[in-house]
Structure formats: structure tokens, C-alpha cells
Symmetry: C2
Amino acid sequence: MEVPFIPIKSLSIEGFAPYGEVIDLDKAEHFPINNGMCTRYNDLATVELSGVEPRPLVNIFRGKPYDIPLHLKMVERHPLGSQAFIPMSKRPFLVIVAPDEAGTPGTPLAFLTQSGQGINLKMGCWHGVLTTLEKTSDFVVIDRGGPGENLEEYYYEPGFLVGFDD
Amino acid sequence: MEVPFIPIKSLSIEGFAPYGEVIDLDKAEHFPINNGMCTRYNDLATVELSGVEPRPLVNIFRGKPYDIPLHLKMVERHPLGSQAFIPMSKRPFLVIVAPDEAGTPGTPLAFLTQSGQGINLKMGCWHGVLTTLEKTSDFVVIDRGGPGENLEEYYYEPGFLVGFDD
């Protein structure tokens, strides 16, 4: 069975808007605090918390790198909360999302971040797992804790080949 | 007027416990996710959100470096929420806190983080401003947004000289 190809595009605020937010300091609201000794880049992600007794979780994800092209077989979603990824390195990473089509994910889209950009996935957005490139990389992740089942997975058959256009 | 001296100590979980949490991956709960391709360091900070319609704010603070010894004159606190600081660099930074004594801060304590450590200040804990060393440094900061006055400042006279013991 032929595996369909998904080209990787540059991440943009507009292109990513249906799926979530791009966290980009160059475009973020910011202002000086502490007598000018600090710049506050303010309120970078809309944290969505749903379900019973939700609370924000602050985590660090340490992701091993993947090779490109990538054979994508699985996407997942978190029905009870958003999930923000802020890279602690300047290395770009791969963001895969998919539109929801009546409860299952449609054809995925793949985006490469620009150096330093992060993302915040909307509550319920289908997405691939954290996909770092080149080196093991740390991310600050803000998502949802509390009771309830906050993970759904979906397996594509035969999946997709995600890579750069020639 | 003589300015009292405050020696900088090493940050420890136990010593910092009255003021907040030390975020230290070496001591944090963690487990593999994504078929072993990622380690999740889970639930690193107790996010406290109080007052009317609070919400978590995700921010980046870009702090200019201070010189040691530091003449500390002001501390502040956030009565409506906690405030976590996760360094995006490996550079240690200075953490100044003070016990509350019937609504005003007592004698401050100063801690130097170990490389990579972050902190989460408890709601209402008196603290100095973000005090980076050596270079301008970025921190992911999770604090409290929403209506209400979430900042109190207190000025010491003549302040304190914060430095390393000889």
C-alpha cells in the first residue's frame, strides 16, 4: 500500500490558527518590569482547562530526536485541556496536527517551527507526539491535570510519510 | 547607616520549603511516554490561583544580569497566586525570599540555584525580583492572571547587602 506524502511547511500564526497558537517572542505582547531590568513577554498561551477539578500542570518533556522523513502512524488528542510546548533550546521542531472530522482525525498537516518558537495546542486538537530533531531537547509543557480521561489516540493505516519537499 | 549583610546559600528543597518548591529534574517524578522517545518530568510546580476568575498565565521573562554583591532594597509578593520560574539556560540565578511577619517581610534569605534548577514561589511569598547573573537569561514563568490586585511591594531601609561569604 502506498504511503501518502505530507510536505512540511513553515509554521505561521495564520496557518496554525485553527489548531492553536504560535508562541513567538518577536510577535508577543511585552513590556519592561523591575525598573527596566526585565522584559515580560506576557500571557503567551491560552490555557484551557475543562472537566472535573482541572488544574494546570507544569512539566518538562525531554524528547529524543526523530529522523525525517517520518512515518506518521498515530495522532492523539487531549479532550480536557490545551497543551503548550515551549522549547528550551533554539532548535526547530516538527509540529503535526490534524483537523477533526466527526470524531476522527483527517489528513494531517506538518509544520516546522522557526528557531525559538513554541506552540499551544487547543483543547481537543489532534496532534502528533513531540517531534524533536537533531538532538534530545527539553520543552516546558503546560497542560491539564486532574481526574478524567484526557487522552485519545488514533492510528492511521497505512499512515503518512512526512518530509521536506525536494 | 550600616547595611546588614545577607550571605548567599545553596538552594535546597528543605531550606526553601517554607517559601516554595525547587524544580529539579534530578529529583522530580518522571516516566517515559511516546514509546520511550520522551521523558515526562511531571507536575513540577503547584500552581496556586486565587481571587476572582483567576487563570494561569504563561510568560517568558528576559532578565538582565545583576552584580554581586547586590544592594537589596525592595521585595514584593503576589497575594493571589504562585509564580514559577524555569530557567531556559543552565546558568544559576539568585533567589531572594523573606518570611512574612504580620504583613511585612522579615529579614530576607538569599539562595543560589544549582545549574538548571527552577523555583515556584508560594502564593503570597515575599521575594526579590528575578535576579539573573552573568548574562541576560530567559525564564518560563507561570503565574496568575485575571482581575484583582496581585502585587504588593515593600521597601527596606537601608536595605541589605546580599553577597557570598568570603
